[in-house]
Symmetry: C2
Subunit: 235 residues, 2 copies
C-alpha cells in the first residue's frame, strides 16, 4: 500500500494516537525509528508500519511521502519509519515486580523500564504515573516496553492481591541497601520525584530501603531505582 | 537596583550567557529557580541575582519586571529568580574522580554530576562532552555543579598526569563489577551514549568493568555510571 495524502483517513486516525485518550480507546500506540520498529517486530505486536524507506517490506508496511511521515511523527527530524503497535498488558506476575507511584517525568519512567528489564524485573505496576505510551517514555525505554508486563493499578490493591511477594519501599531513613539479603519474590516500590513514596504505602511494606550517600544529597529516582534493582537482581 | 527595560545593557549582556561562547569568554553562567539560587548562595559564587520577588534581598540583587525576567530565562515559565554565577574550576583532585568521554545528553551529564556528589566523587573530567553550563545540565544537577571540581581536559592527558590514581574503564565485556575490591584512589571512565569509551582509552586502564545484566540489554549511561559509583564509593 502507498499513501500520498496527509488527509488520508488512516493517516488522520493514526495521528490521533499522539493523544493519550486515543491510545486508551484503541489499545494502540505509535513508535518512531528503526530500533523500536525492530524490537516491536521481534515481539510480533505490529499493526502498521509507515515508512519512506522502500527497503522495509511486509504485509503491514505502508509506504508514504515525507509529508505524511512528518505528520505522523512526534519529533522534528524523525527516522523514516513509524510503527503502530498493540499494547501488551496483564500477563502473569513473576519474581521481581517494580511498582511506581506518581513518577511524573517521562525520561525517568522510560529509564526505569529499561533498567527493570536489564535486572530481571518482569512486571511494572503504574499507579498515577505519566502515560507509558508517551513518545518521550518510548524513546527512553529503548524497546523494553515490548517485553515488560505493564499493569495500571493502585499499589495498595496490588499489595493486597499479591501477598506472595515481599514488598520493599524506598525512604530517606530506612534499612541500608547493602544490609539486605533479597527475598525470593520481591515488589520494589519507588515514588514521586519530589515527594517519594506516600506514607500510606510505606506503612504497608515489609521494610523500607535507603541508599547510603555522602552529605545530605538525593539521587534521581531512575538512578536510585536502578541501583536498588541491580542489588536485588536474581543472580 | 531596579531594572525595567529589556534593552538595559546589563540585561542584554547577561542574556548573552545563553550562548556557550559568552559563558566561555566571561567565566559566568546563568541558573534559574529558587533551589539553584540557594545552592549558589551557600557556595558564595553569585555575581548578580535578577528577580521579581521582593523578599529576596542582598547587595547583588536586582529587582526586575516580569518582561525582563522572561528575557533572561531559558524556560517558558521560569521561577522568578535568575542567578548569575562564576564558574569554579581547577581545584585539587581527591580520591574519586569521574571522567566522561563524549557524553552528549545534557540530562545524563547533570544526573551523573548529582550521583558523583552523592557517592563522594569530588572531581569531574570532561573530554568532549556537551557544555556543563547548558541550562538542561544545570537543572539535572540539582546544585551539584556548585560543589564539584570540574576540569576540561583530554582523558589521555589526565591519566598521564595522575598516575597516583587507578583507572577503571567501562566495557561490554569486562570484569564483573561485583568482583571488584575498590582501589584507594580511583578514576572511573564512562563513554558516549552510543559507542561507549573509546578503544584508545580502554587500552590504557588498569581494568575495565561490566555490570552483569539479564538478556543482552544495555543501561542508560547515567544509570550505569551511578551503579558503579555506588559500588566504588568511599565507605
Amino acid at each position: 500500500m502507498h499513501i500520498q495524502s496527509v488527509n488520508n483517513p488512516l493517516i488522520k486516525d493514526m495521528t490521533k494516537l499522539h493523544q493519550k485518550k486515543h491510545r486508551d480507546a484503541t489499545g494502540l500506540f505509535l513508535v518512531e525509528g528503526y530500533h523500536l520498529h525492530e524490537e516491536a517486530t521481534k515481539v510480533g505486536n505490529v499493526v502498521h508500519v509507515f515508512t519512506t524507506d522502500e527497503s522495509i517490506r511486509g504485509d503491514n508496511v505502508v509506504t508514504v511521502t515525507p509529508q505524511v511521515l512528518a505528520k505522523l511523527a512526534q519529533t522534528k527530524n524523525p527516522q523514516p519509519v513509524i510503527t503502530i503497535c498493540r499494547k501488551i498488558e496483564g500477563a502473569a506476575v513473576g519474581h521481581r515486580v517494580l511498582l511506581l507511584e506518581r513518577v511524573q517525568d517521562p525520561g525517568n519512567l522510560g529509564t526505569l523500564m529499561r533498567s527493570a528489564l536489564a535486572f530481571g524485573f518482569d512486571t511494572i505496576v503504574l499507579d498515577n504515573t505519566c502515560d507509558i505510551y508517551n513518545d518521550k517514555v518510548l524513546r527512553s525505554t529503548q524497546g523494553a516496553i515490548f517485553r515488560l508486563n505493564v499493569l495500571h493499578q493502585s499499589i495498595a490493591t496490588f499489595m493486597e492481591e499479591h501477598s506472595e511477594l515481599t514488598f520493599y519501599g524506598t525512604a530517606m531513613e530506612g534499612t541500608p541497601l547493602d544490609d539486605i539479603d533479597p527475598a525470593l519474590r520481591i515488589g520494589l516500590i519507588l515514588g514521586n520525584e519530589g515527594s517519594g513514596v506516600s506514607s500510606e504505602v510505606l506503612a504497608k511494606t515489609t521494610l523500607n530501603l535507603t541508599i547510603s550517600m555522602h552529605h545530605t544529597e538525593s539521587l534521581n529516582v531512575a538512578v536510585a531505582g536502578s541501583i536498588i534493582m541491580h542489588h536485588l537482581a536474581l543472580k
